[in-house]
């Protein structure tokens, strides 16, 4: 069966309670999750604002951006997106370019810690432009900072990591024989995932091994590296990827290396292909988290700020939707999972259509 858990006998180091708790959470998150909730807007939003959005060329950024542009349209805003090259100076240049013709509101997906663009953030503050961020790169923005709100932050990612840990503990009855695959170059963004994952495994009394790879090898060098690692560490039963994109080509490589039956793959933020593989069973599980809905959330936040709302802690790192996908509960494999309720809840809350 593709299902998670069952065979957790207390024999392994993980104490029964821990395993049971994990199993409980997994079961809870495996059933279809309720739609997210969004409070109605306090008033009517001014139309025709220009909405600046700094994004990156990565697929995940693209998904958010497309959604966010739709959201802005819904409010009658005119959006202007700047795509940064994946280099710090490119990121800085993107900011400079956006601020050269300053928009009324700004949302951004950080490529690097905010210190890199502190000058630009300060300028935005001077101009009184509300700025919100998605998936802060290593920062924990707070209401005293230059950023007025941030989504998909530490707790979001941490939760995804934790869930990857849970499915493994629940299934293996312990956290042993597990490897976490990530690219430390992106640690600024991915640390929360790693923390959450390691924490859950530690609860079960183990420490996951870590395989460092370069995200630039996705689909080419990466599968070979993973296979080699698994061959060098035959004890490994579970592989957790910091990002579902990194699993591209891995199931096929495992097949060739006769490891397909002995190793289970889990990941987070799946693409359509991951869902398909999970359904087929070539990937074991994957953790869905809010991606495209963040595009709506930032616009929601900016809308409230434009109505004069003052951010409180609520505005930072609000919890979001998560879903454990297994072979049993994958329904569609045509597109990456959509946050339940999105975008309707936003349209409703903004009472636009």
């Amino acid at each position: 069966t593709n299902g998670v858990g069952g065979d957790g006998d207390g024999s392994s180091s993980g104490s029964k309670e821990v395993v049971a708790a994990a199993q409980e959470r997994v079961d809870a998150m495996s059933v279809e999750q309720p739609p997210i909730e969004v409070a109605p807007l306090p008033g009517a939003v001014e139309k025709g604002l220009t909405y600046g959005f700094i994004t990156c060329p990565l697929p995940v950024c693209r998904t958010v951006t497309d959604a966010s542009v739709k959201a802005a349209e819904a409010l009658g805003w005119e959006s202007k997106q700047v795509e940064t090259e994946m280099t710090p100076e490119g990121y800085v240049a993107a900011w400079d370019q956006l601020l050269q013709d300053p928009p009324d509101v700004i949302a951004f997906i950080p490529f690097a810690p905010d210190t890199i663009v502190e000058k630009q953030l300060a300028k935005a503050a001077d101009l009184g432009i509300p700025v919100v961020s998605i998936a802060p790169a290593g920062d924990r923005p707070s209401k005293d900072g230059p950023v007025s709100a941030s989504y998909n932050g530490y707790p979001e990612l941490r939760e995804s990591g934790a869930l990857m840990g849970d499915v493994i503990v629940a299934d293996g009855g312990s956290g042993s024989n597990t490897v976490f695959v990530w690219d430390p170059a992106l640690s600024a963004i991915w640390n929360p995932i790693k923390d959450g994952f390691e924490e859950q495994i530690k609860k079960a009394g183990d420490k996951p091994q870590v395989l460092e790879v370069s995200a630039s090898g996705i689909g080419t060098a990466l599968p070979g590296q993973v296979v080699s690692y698994l061959q060098a560490h035959p004890e490994i039963k579970y592989v957790a990827f910091a990002l579902a994109d990194m699993t591209v080509g891995v199931p096929e490589a495992l097949q060739t290396a006769d490891l397909a039956d002995t190793v289970k793959i889990t990941s987070r933020a799946p693409q359509a292909a991951n869902l398909a593989n999970v359904k087929k069973g070539t990937e074991w599980t994957t953790i869905g988290e809010e991606i495209e809905s963040n595009g709506w959330r930032v616009v929601d936040g900016l809308a409230r700020l434009s109505l004069g709302a003052t951010p409180d802690d609520q505005w930072f790192e609000p919890g979001g939707w998560h879903q454990v996908f297994t072979g049993d509960n994958v329904t569609q494999t045509d597109e990456s999972p959509v946050t339940p309720g999105s975008p309707d809840v936003f349209l409703a809350a903004w009472n636009v259509s």
């Binding site: 697929p59 693209r62 460092e212 630039s216 061959q231 060098a232 994109d245 591209v248 398909a276 593989n277």
Partner: protein
């Protein structure tokens, strides 16, 4: 400023490919020559022995062998294609991005595009071949330096790739395509078979047809070849078309192999392919871009990398290995080539045709 270079009593020939002078000694069959020609095989054997001793239980396995072969099959196909333009004296820097472009095209057409797998594959390969033809046109008709022409083409293809993929992962690919790349008739990964077929075909074309001979002549000395009646323009053009076609084929097979294609795939094939082709010029037929030497080089490097990975080496170690292996292998080749016929090198480099 002073430099070790002062000791060099001969002019430098950056243009010539590495052990270009060693061919003679190899032909002459001097033991030095032989040692040189097959050094790659020895080194490969050495690598296998060493890692076999260090990590026998994991390294000396069928999985390792098939794993290496399957991983490198795509590289082999694109590198073999690259040989043609190199042999004709052109550099196709765009071939890696062209591979990525083909992969994205087939993936997009066959998923969101909703087209049939075979149709999509054909379109992708056709487009890549067309790209090769465009390169060929600019290099052989307009006569732009091929490095620039293909540099520009790389940038254009990058744009096309981003546009087509919409910066999204495209997948899952239809099973038909995934099967085509992942089937294992009689336990042999089918990609390996494809690579072998492509290699054999290339070997035949390059070594055993007038076309191949004229290709090499075009690369060796375009003007003389032209005076000799070789249609150098046409041959250079053809060589770029072939390189483009191979890139397209490799791209489609890669897409099928990994089942889901992101926009950034491709560039990672640039360095390995060129490295292999150049390293290949020191092997089997020294001084000449040749098929089996190239493949030997690819497998040699891949084996070393695999061994290091099994030893638990970090990523940077494998990069360092690739670089050092290339550098040392070629150096050894060049130096011993010079040794093998010191007197003549000088004579040659200062104009044999002098009365």
């Amino acid at each position: 400023m002073t430099s070790p270079a002062d000791t060099a009593a001969e002019p430098v020939e950056t243009a010539s490919i590495p052990a270009s002078t060693s061919r003679r000694s190899a032909r002459g069959g001097g033991s030095g020559g032989l040692l040189l020609r097959f050094s790659g095989l020895y080194i490969w054997a050495a690598i296998i022995v060493v890692f076999g001793a260090l990590v026998p239980q994991t390294f000396l396995t069928v999985q390792t062998a098939t794993g290496i072969a399957t991983n490198e099959a795509v590289t082999i196909i694109v590198a073999v294609g690259l040989l043609f333009s190199l042999a004709a004296g052109g550099f196709d820097l765009s071939m890696a991005q062209n591979l990525g472009f083909a992969a994205v095209v087939v993936a997009t057409l066959s998923t969101v595009g909703g087209h049939g797998p075979w149709f999509s594959a054909l379109v992708a390969i056709a487009l890549s071949t067309a790209v090769g033809a465009i390169n060929g046109f600019f290099v052989s008709v307009i006569r732009i330096n091929s490095l620039i022409a293909t540099l520009a083409m790389t940038s254009i293809l990058l744009a096309a790739t981003r546009l087509v993929s919409g910066q999204q992962f495209r997948g899952p690919l239809p099973d038909a395509l995934r099967e085509t790349s992942n089937a294992e008739p009689a336990g042999v990964p089918i990609l390996v078979l494809y690579a072998l077929i492509v290699a054999a075909a290339a070997w035949y074309l390059l070594e055993h047809t007038p076309f191949g001979r004229r290709l090499y002549a075009t690369g060796a000395n375009p003007e003389a070849a032209f005076l000799a009646g070789v249609r150098t323009g046409r041959h250079l053009f053809a060589s770029f078309v072939i390189t483009g076609f191979a890139a397209g084929l490799a791209g489609v097979l890669l897409a099928g192999k990994i089942g889901s294609v992101g926009p950034d795939i491709g560039p990672s094939y640039l360095l390995p392919s060129f490295a292999a082709c150049f390293l290949g010029t020191t092997q089997l037929k020294p001084g000449k871009f040749n098929v089996w030497g190239t493949i030997l080089s690819i497998l040699l490097l891949a084996t070393g990398v695999k061994g290091l990975q099994l030893l638990g080496g970090e990523q940077w170690i494998t990069d360092a290995f690739n670089g050092l292996a290339l550098l040392t292998a070629v150096s050894v080749a060049v130096v011993s080539a010079r040794r093998a016929q010191s007197g003549r090198t000088v004579r040659r480099s200062t104009g044999r045709s002098a009365p």
